[in-house]
Symmetry: C2
């Protein structure tokens, strides 16, 4: 039956680098799923290197892209790079709009190749949603915040008219995580610095000024709580609480 909660050592090792608390059971599933795929494709070693060294100079670590881009783990669907970036780098990561791939990442999610890179160190976190964002019309005065640049690193243009998705053209590059600190990468994070550099200048767009696209209304404490995802099957408690005891499950066609 292997109801045993067996976790291979590699998975344990990788999990020990997980950032943030909670969601342990699910994270384990996510890592197991990734490890399984990488074993087949031979990318497992590179993953371990990337995670342990936190080095952006590692190679792309890829998994097949599904039709809609999402990956399902346990009963939850999400974009794979978001899932693994959240797991190993930014637990509070909200969506793919907050991620930007490094230039040298050849399988970046946005490139829409048939494999997607999930190397967490091939992505940087940007503060504001790159494209859509919620544009708030601006009356007059209100010197409000919004548009201003925040990034510690130089240039910043609020909202990028940006161009095509993948191309990486003029898109806001608000500097990596560092909004209000984010120790994670703020350091001399290898890799990251440069590619932002490149992102930085091009902007050409306009549109910026009249609208303040408020960068993520911070205060994302929202991240705790959630609607259980997907299906509601038989007796199973939450997760974290590792007890898969089937307690009071009532009927269902017996048969053992």
């Amino acid at each position: 039956m292997s109801m045993l909660p067996f976790t291979p050592p590699v998975v344990k090792r990788l999990l020990s680098f997980k950032k943030g608390e909670g969601e342990d059971k699910w994270s384990e599933k996510a890592v197991k799923s990734l490890v399984k795929k990488l074993k087949k494709s031979g990318g497992l070693e590179e993953l371990e290197t990337a995670i342990t060294t936190e080095d952006a100079a590692t190679r792309c670590i890829t998994i097949p892209r599904s039709l809609d881009g999402r990956l399902q783990v346990s009963h939850k669907k999400g974009l794979p790079h978001v899932i693994y970036c959240r797991l190993w780098r930014w637990p509070e990561l909200q969506s793919h709009h907050e991620l930007r791939a490094l230039d040298h990442c050849t399988y970046a999610f946005n490139l829409k190749k048939e494999e997607v890179c999930v190397n967490p160190y091939h992505y940087t976190k940007i503060e504001a949603p790159a494209l859509p964002a919620i544009l708030v019309p601006r009356g007059s005065s209100s010197s409000s915040s919004g548009g201003s640049c925040n990034s510690s690193g130089g240039s910043c243009n609020s909202s990028g008219g940006s161009s095509s998705v993948g191309g990486g053209g003029g898109v806001v590059g608000v500097r990596v995580g560092s909004n209000n600190n984010n120790n994670n990468n703020n350091n001399s994070d290898p890799g990251s610095a440069e590619d932002l550099g490149s992102l930085a200048d091009l902007n050409t767009d306009s549109l910026s000024d009249s609208t303040s696209l408020t960068s993520v209304p911070p205060t994302l404490e929202s991240s705790q709580s959630f609607p259980p995802t997907e299906s509601p099957p038989p007796g199973y408690m939450s997760e974290d609480g590792d007890s898969p005891d089937l307690q009071d499950i009532t009927d269902y066609p017996g048969q053992s």
Copy 2:
């Protein structure tokens, strides 16, 4: 959100003919699933007729056959004809080995056509597993087990050359509930004898109309309890207990 437990009238009506207790929530899902398919194919009317009149003279009611023959409802997989025969006729039905299609059923499960008939009145229940059974080598005495025929309906050849499986002589098919009791063929001769009998035929069966074999005084208390099936997802209690309250679900990536 439609968290509403909305159940269309047809489904309600069909459910009112369900035999046996419990498992209500799941049964509803099963019927909903069937109704949905039949609406598309136009077989819904015939289903209602069959279920309400309990008439074997109704036409085949079919759904597409999956590759491995199983149908999944909620988180449980099973053979479709078994599922619906259990639901509407024999709640204690254990497996497809206990079912035999009527001769005029042109989409009987065993015919392996690309549609399967799930008309519960196109199947009859037989007592012993038709073929496999668990064969137990038998030393000597063993009150023989010889062939006698059981089926109330005519033809029966006691263990003709057929089945080979057990390799001849002293083998006995021990098996499935009803060992004793079993009004079906009530002969004084319990289990052993008859199932051998039934081993004989199979396929292109005859025995057809022996409608006599209906409700079986169930002695199988086995049918209560069961391992929760399929996956173990987030916060969800059992089922039947309609409360999808996500109570203490702990972590998981928030996001509402």
